[in-house]
């Protein structure tokens, strides 16, 4: 649609909201636009979205915003309460908590993104393939997801991290390992619902290969429910990472990952509450923002989803 850019605002909206879209692309954009309109009407979801954008910007701008280096130790000034020099105080090694939070945002949010990037495609492919191909492949794949689902998520991640070596990469892989089965389940359910629809049958008759049908026709249609799941999962990913850190198996010091910061500072909760509380607040804010956004998206995308 090369002429899109030249259209005025009104005609663009008309194009997007058209009841008789001329092309599949127009229909797709139209759906997205309606979604956005519905989402904008939900103040909580918007609050979540804005918070997330702010957090991401703050993390990206960490080198500009952070008043100190996140690793600079100042042993004689450890556990200093919030002051003009250190807005959020200093930690057990005299490092500036604000600077660590800003830099740590990159790691924590980066971990979340990495997990999603790993998990969503895998879950999508496995689920769609299982659902479309069916038969033995379906049964085997679903049993595998059963096994992973039957594991308590934290325990599996814990065992896995322990089996390799604690650190950010292991934590990402471990969380990904525990997070993919629900995605596969959702994608499979969606696939089953559309597998026998007329347009898939038509494409098949037109001679499209199985791979092509799965990749081009089925997967995009399963994306919607997957996005909801992802946005709801973000907060649980952050929390799992933090719990791993709490049990000594997540990101490791001196990394300013938020969960690791809380974990290593939790012993100060009585005498220097700000050291564990500041990163905990950061986790809370990010996690709540993702939850609010996810909740809003779920309402908009499909209000009846069960799991």
């Amino acid at each position: 649609m090369s002429d899109t850019s030249t259209m005025s605002g009104t005609s663009l909206r008309a194009w997007l909201l058209s009841d008789t879209p001329a092309s599949r692309r127009q229909a797709g954009w139209g759906r997205l636009y309606r979604l956005w309109r519905d989402l904008r009407a939900n103040p909580l979801a918007m609050a979540g979205l804005v918070t997330i954008i702010l957090l991401i910007l703050a993390a990206l701008a960490a080198p500009l915003l952070a008043p100190y280096s996140p690793d600079a130790q100042h042993l004689s000034n450890h556990l200093a309460p919030p002051s003009a020099a250190h807005w959020l105080g200093t930690d057990e090694l005299g490092r500036d908590i604000l600077s660590r939070l800003l830099w740590g945002g990159r790691i924590t949010l980066g971990m979340v993104v990495s997990v999603v990037v790993l998990v969503a495609p895998v879950g999508l492919i496995v689920g769609c393939a299982a659902g479309y191909i069916g038969g033995l492949a379906d049964r085997v794949l679903m049993r595998v997801t059963d096994v992973f689902l039957a594991f308590p998520r934290l325990i599996l991640a814990l065992a896995f991290v322990a089996a390799i070596t604690p650190g950010i990469t292991s934590a990402i892989i471990a969380i990904a390992l525990t997070a993919w089965p629900p995605y596969a389940r959702i994608a499979r359910a969606e696939t089953l619902a559309i597998r026998n629809s007329d347009f898939i049958a038509a494409t098949r008759l037109a001679g499209a290969s199985r791979t092509r049908i799965i990749l081009v026709h089925i997967m995009p249609l399963s994306l919607g429910s997957l996005i909801v799941r992802v946005s709801l999962d973000m907060s649980s990913i952050i929390l799992t990472a933090a719990a791993l850190g709490f049990l000594g198996m997540g990101a490791q010091p001196p990394s300013p990952e938020w969960g690791a910061m809380v974990a290593s500072a939790r012993r100060f909760i009585v005498n220097a509450w700000w050291v564990p509380m500041m990163p905990a607040m950061a986790i809370f804010v990010a996690s709540l923002a993702f939850n609010l956004l996810g909740d809003g998206l779920r309402d908009v995308l499909d209000p009846k989803q069960r799991s």
Binding site: P43, L44, R143, V144, D146, V147, L149, A150, F151, P152, R153, L154, I155, L158, A159, F160, A162, A163, T165, S235, S236, L239, A242, A243, F246, L247, G248, G259, V262, A263, R266, I269, V270, W273, P276, A280, I283, F284, S287, L288, N291, L292, D295, P303, K304, R306, S307
Partner: protein, 337 residues
Amino acid sequence: MSGRLRTLAATTASVLITLFGLTVVTFFIGRVMPIDPIVAILGDHAPPDVVARVRIELGLNRPLWYQFWIFFRNLIHLDLGRSVMTTHPVLHDIGRYFPATFELATAAMIVATLIGVPLGVLAAVRQGTRTDHIVRVFSLAGSSIPVFMLAMLSLVVFYAALGWLPGTGQVSVVYDGIAPRITGMLVIDAAITGHWNTFYNALLHLIQPALVLAYFSMAYITRMTRGFMLDALRGEYITTARAKGLSAARIVWRHAFGNIWVQLITVLALTYAGLLEGAVVTETVFSWPGLGQYLTNSLLNADMNAVLGSTLVIGVIYVFLNLLADVLYRLMDPRVR
């Protein structure tokens, strides 16, 4: 009838396969851990000759597949081996620690349901209003705080600062070991045997971890209740009921809620399974002598029999609850039937 039997057989088979897979995965994760089980058993100062002897005694010098075969063979005879940490058979340990977790999770479940469901109904009835928003933020907040932070904050506030609730552990030392062990759930044991002081003390100890765990899992219950209620309230029969001039409370509770409770039960069953997971961290902070703590400790000490045993138990419970949710749904929902 034969169709039902076939379904039953298929379900059983799939459950067994799942559990077998669970065993295999746990076993191999355990064996590739970079912790030498010998170090866990003998400590760091053990001399080489003792290490070599014990390695042979425990069969750890055998190939992995052989070790797994031995484990599996014993498992079929319900012998999960001995835990290194506690020196007791794993089955005995599970019998000892599981009831405490069960007690905690059940208490949490009751609280989460009693608060979460009404909140969800309230949010649905007031959809789009400020009440709806407050309920949503309140319930989502619970599942946005790291559980250990919530637990520690709760200790600092309710125990240390306000002094309303006792600290960690299942019961005060004074009452420890007074009520005879029947179910293993202290609150219940004390109540059955009429040890009311112990009962009261144990109940107070239970409140804090249960509330923490409940708050953590409430969001899901509230959200699902709200969703179901919104659907139900849109139903034709509600319009009919309204037209009949029935009271608002009657419409909400009798007609709308009466239609969603089947769906709700499946949600609750799934939440219950998830609670076992939250319990791992909660138990650590509150020194709660449950399976979660047992499992984490075993894992960190490479106490593989204990890890395998408790993972299997949790797996079985999870599978069972899922199955239960499924069956309930099929049995009770008129649309599915």
